[in-house]
Symmetry: C2
Subunit: 181 residues, 2 copies
Amino acid sequence: MVFVTGNEHKRREVREILGVELEAADLDIPEVQGIDPAEVAAAKALAAREALGFPEAYVLAEDSGVMVEAWNGFPGALTKWLLGSVGVEGLLGMLSGFEDRSARAVCVAAVVAPDGSVETFRGEVPGEISPEARGEGGFGYDPVFVPEWSARTYAELGEEKNKDSHRARAFRAMRGWLEEA
Amino acid sequence: MVFVTGNEHKRREVREILGVELEAADLDIPEVQGIDPAEVAAAKALAAREALGFPEAYVLAEDSGVMVEAWNGFPGALTKWLLGSVGVEGLLGMLSGFEDRSARAVCVAAVVAPDGSVETFRGEVPGEISPEARGEGGFGYDPVFVPEWSARTYAELGEEKNKDSHRARAFRAMRGWLEEA
């Protein structure tokens, strides 16, 4: 199985959850526009399979983001562009006029089989956007996302986040599928 | 010249500005993620040229969006996803916590020549986001964008908008290039 990622830490985390060998492919695949990480991850896995010359292997890609309920799921897969423009302080400013602060951290793993068929596995963690940024660990929206299973932000949780994160949930769902196959 | 659009009204408007024959190609090209319409338009034109089988013609695509200064240009080319999720009322709510309401309407026309070289032409209209939606005409952010050359929103301006819109400015810049070539 080939995992499209340039992040060695992520490759190890996913290999540990899946319990299979994972070859990392650090490809520069342009991501398609969309809110749902499932569409973006599936397009990424299909484009990577083509870039790799249609190998006789499973090609795995993932995409993630935070879906804000008051914004009907926005920014989702576009989270990195919002944060790249305004940072977490900007996100807090944009949400300041909304009462409902609930949100979901979402990750989708997409696998393309050698025959071209695509399977997606979704991991969601409901939670809320904190009133202010807290914690030194993590990246992206980690300092402002409080999963429902804790009172701390993802950034405050540090490594503990990985035990039951949206990414862990997506790849655990995928492990169940692997075990059945 | 082939113009990648499914919008006959837009094709006519652009043909009128450019003064050349334009064949419309209604292709379903997935747009790449990005804030700058120039990157998205160029990628669209290149992908369309490939989808059309590398014709001996110029391939033209455009992309546009509103760049909010307080958000460092966000959402730009991603405007349609923000509006598709929250509408103009949501955009106003997200901006309610920011004092600076200045924004730019931006359009970029990208042309790929038969030899594969790309030219981009940018049209920008500075202005601001109005406190509330006004006007029945237009679409997208038209009801909340007030160009600096008027006190009315794009939606209130109706057809008058086209006289000096971001799109008109981009294609006028392109016409200058065509006349020189």
